[in-house]
């Protein structure tokens, strides 16, 4: 047994509620488990308990016992446990504290007091496994999100722990980075390491794990093989169900397919491919949000070019965003998405080309002037919170821009469920509540265009549902929504058009289904079609073969 929880309850100092409440679980060598649940359900605390940070580092009230590799964590300090269990934290920036990737990998080995030869051997092993060969001399803080994730993983696997834990490792990864990480984790598993992963996007990893543990308010609400757990009503626990399972449920079908192959097999078993295919194709045509495409443009970009330190970041960017449409900007990390959206409110200016917002050139307009028309909801709401109360936080923008409309702001407080929080400090809110404050703050100036930067990253199903509702409301008010996201499943459901950016160029612009049909563009941009689309394609192929 590599891990055993025996009636573990824990609460942080000064907090009344239990972060873990009577948790019992076991994990054997080579086994893998996915920990799922809504934000604040105790997932990260459980990971910390596995490596002794809870209770040794955080203190607080502790009941029960955790055994890691046979060691009772309450009797052994963290520095005696870290060679047995290693945790890759959510925030890779705070975890990479050395000058180079190489020293990052050797830090833990030096702590163990290993011999020079042993350090060299493990360094080579871990760098090969985490595919870090070319990065060894680079400073970690200058790497991309995917590379940082691999370095963080490499620094832990170099210790050769018997239990490896990863807290939301896919949150900031693009599809290609996700695939690379999955490949590495499969290799870890084959090396005999036990794996525990915390993740909201179940479909990214569910096929590689042996069991799911669903946490709810610190308790284990469900536990078992993925298909058994997902057969139960678990979506209320904040689980983002894999897309094909959701599709089957929506269509009233039996079965819980995790992959397209599973879905086809299930349909064949039920002798349903033909009727299902007809229904799905009919639904598929309706899948994209309908948009007439006749409204006036809010954004007109013509041949925008932008360079940074002499290197081209955006090249000949040409697109329009129309009033009332919802557009997804997709592409791999480093493709230029953030650079492009920063042009929309003048945070960056094009070096050549023209950009018009509501028919007016942006070049000579102040950021504050453009902010009246373009609202931003950034990925990290903590970047903007500074006022003593939620009310003042939301009203900061309208007051700075002189566009305060009390009845509109009251409506926003109501819409985003902030009425009971208005006098609270924004710093005391949960991350989901902070996101809602950031949403309300962006909309408080009544912008015509709302830019949502990675809105689903690290968010549970409950927030995704709220977000979907907000987007519908924005479109009903004829506001334009620009979603910048890696979450193509969400983008396919909530955007009527996709813009695909790669190496600073827009290489595809069209309906989600049309973009996904362009396999060349998808490959170039490192994107993977949604599972629903893949299933439609597979069914069509079957139909053709039959004919």
């Amino acid at each position: 047994m590599i891990l055993r929880f025996e009636g573990v309850s824990y609460r942080y100092p000064g907090v009344e509620s239990w972060a873990l409440n009577g948790v019992d679980l076991t994990l054997r060598p080579g086994e893998s488990a996915l920990i799922a649940g809504s934000s604040g359900s105790g997932k990260s605390t459980l990971c910390r308990a596995c490596i002794g940070l809870v209770p040794h580092f955080h203190h607080g009230e502790w009941i029960g016992k955790v055994f890691v590799d046979g060691l009772d964590t309450s009797q052994h300090p963290v520095h005696e446990l870290f060679r047995h269990a290693g945790l890759v934290f959510q925030n890779t920036d705070a975890q990479l504290f050395n000058q180079t990737v190489e020293s990052e990998l050797t830090y833990g080995l030096e702590s163990l007091g290993l011999s020079h030869d042993e350090i060299e051997q493990r360094l080579n092993w871990a760098s090969q496994l985490a595919e870090l060969g070319d990065l060894m001399d680079r400073p970690p803080h200058l790497l991309s999100g995917g590379e940082k994730q691999r370095v963080a993983l490499g620094s832990i696997i170099a210790l050769q722990p018997r239990l490896l834990l990863l807290d939301e490792p896919f949150t900031h990864l693009d599809p290609q980075g996700t695939e690379e990480l999955r490949r590495i984790l499969r290799m870890m598993k084959s090396e005999g390491m036990a794996l525990i992963l915390v993740e909201h996007r179940l479909h990214e990893i569910i096929q590689d794990v042996g069991q799911i543990i669903v946490l709810h308010q610190g308790k284990i609400a469900a536990k078992g093989p993925p298909d058994q757990v997902l057969a139960r009503e678990v979506s209320d626990y904040g689980l983002n169900l894999p897309p094909l399972i959701r599709l089957f449920r929506e269509m009233g079908l039996k079965g819980r397919p995790l992959s397209v192959e599973d879905a086809i097999k299930e349909l064949k078993n039920q002798d349903l491919p033909t009727p299902f295919s007809a229904r799905l194709l009919k639904e598929g045509k309706k899948a994209s949000i309908s948009f007439p495409g006749t409204s006036p443009p809010v954004v007109e970009a013509e041949d925008i070019c932008f360079s940074y330190r002499g290197l081209p970041v955006l090249q000949d960017i040409h697109f329009n965003l129309l009033r009332g449409e919802s557009v997804a900007l997709v592409g791999r990390n480093g493709a230029g998405k953030t650079t492009l959206i920063k042009h929309l409110n003048g945070l960056l200016r094009p070096h050549s080309g023209r950009l018009k917002i509501l028919g007016q050139e942006t070049l000579r307009r102040q950021v504050s002037e453009l902010s009246r028309h373009v609202g931003f909801v950034w990925q990290n709401p903590n970047d903007q919170l500074f006022q003593p109360t939620v009310r003042e936080e939301v009203l900061t923008g309208p007051k700075a821009l002189g566009s305060y409309d009390s009845s509109w702001c009251e409506e926003l407080f109501d819409r985003f469920g902030l009425v009971s929080l208005l006098e609270r400090s924004p710093f005391t809110l949960s991350e989901g509540q902070k996101k809602r404050v950031a949403f309300a703050a962006a909309l408080a100036v009544k912008p015509e265009l709302v830019v949502l930067d990675e809105p689903t990253a690290g968010q549970d199903e409950l927030f995704r549902r709220e977000l979907a509702k907000f987007i519908v409301e924005l479109r009903r008010e004829e506001r334009t929504v620009l979603l910048v996201t890696h979450d193509l499943e969400f983008a396919a459901e909530h955007a009527n058009r996709w813009l695909v950016l790669t190496e600073g160029r827009i290489i595809a612009d069209g309906l989600p289904e049309a973009v996904m049909a362009d396999s060349k563009a998808m490959t170039r941009a490192g994107l993977r079609s949604t599972q629903r689309y893949q299933l439609i394609q597979a069914l069509e192929k079957m139909k053709e073969n039959k004919a």
């Binding site: 290693g86 934290f89 975890q95 504290f97 830090y107 080995l109 102040q366 903590n382 923008g397």
Partner: protein, 223 residues
């Protein structure tokens, strides 16, 4: 970063030996000559561009120092003070540009500095660029809400909008960092370093020359 062949300990002796006379020189000619020598080293090591970037930060302090000293005393005192600050700053710039933080912390350990202090010094140098990037994100987020943080005086007026989120994030970051370090065995006894600093004959020569320079610096004609 341009790693040098010298041990950080000999360079540490050297930089203090340079800094001490720079603090006691009161002739503008001696300070100018020192600055010229330091600049020659900067150019020799091809650090001209990083030095100009460094000057963008230090320049403001030098200018402020100059104006205050001119108002409080006279032009010559202000000029000497500004030169002194610039020369000392350049000496330390050379030290940090040629000494990786880890090499510095390893060297400090060899000098008997406790591990936690030495590591915190190198880790804090490592995190300055991370926090600067976060400050950039915060500034963009606030400007996107209509807060006119365009630079200059507006930075001071809207300081809470920048400092508030940055401080909160820095505290959270420090907590996360401490956790991550703990989980990789920070500060446990029996640590063995992959690259042990070695004090070689070249380092001894540097120390001897440095001490000789220091003695000469106290010779009256230079002062």
């Amino acid at each position: 970063m341009r790693p040098s062949v010298l041990d950080p300990r000999s360079k540490l002796v050297m930089v203090f030996v340079v800094a001490i006379p720079l603090m006691i020189f009161h002739r503008w000619t001696s300070l100018t000559a020192s600055l010229v020598i330091l600049m020659a080293v900067v150019l020799l090591l091809r650090l001209g561009l990083p030095w100009l970037n460094f000057l963008r930060g230090l320049g403001f302090a030098v200018l402020t120092f100059f104006v205050i000293a001119w108002l409080a005393f006279d032009f010559l005192t202000a000029f000497v003070s500004a030169l002194r600050l610039l020369a000392i700053g350049t000496a330390f710039f050379l030290f940090f540009q040629t000494t990786p933080p880890e090499a510095l912390s390893n060297a400090l350990l060899k000098m008997g500095v406790p591990y936690p202090f030495a590591f915190v010094l190198s880790a804090s140098m490592q995190f300055v660029p991370v926090l600067v990037r976060r400050l950039g994100n915060i500034r963009d987020a606030q400007r996107a809400r209509g807060i006119p943080i365009e630079g200059g005086l507006s930075l001071l007026i809207h300081l809470p909008a920048l400092a508030g989120p940055l401080l909160i994030q820095a505290f959270k970051f420090a907590d996360e960092l401490a956790e991550a370090m703990e989980a990789r065995g920070f500060g446990i006894p029996g640590r063995r370093f992959r690259h042990e600093p070695r004090f070689r004959w070249m380092d001894w020569i540097v120390v001897i020359i440095s001490v000789a320079v220091l003695v000469m610096a106290f010779w009256k004609p230079f002062r």
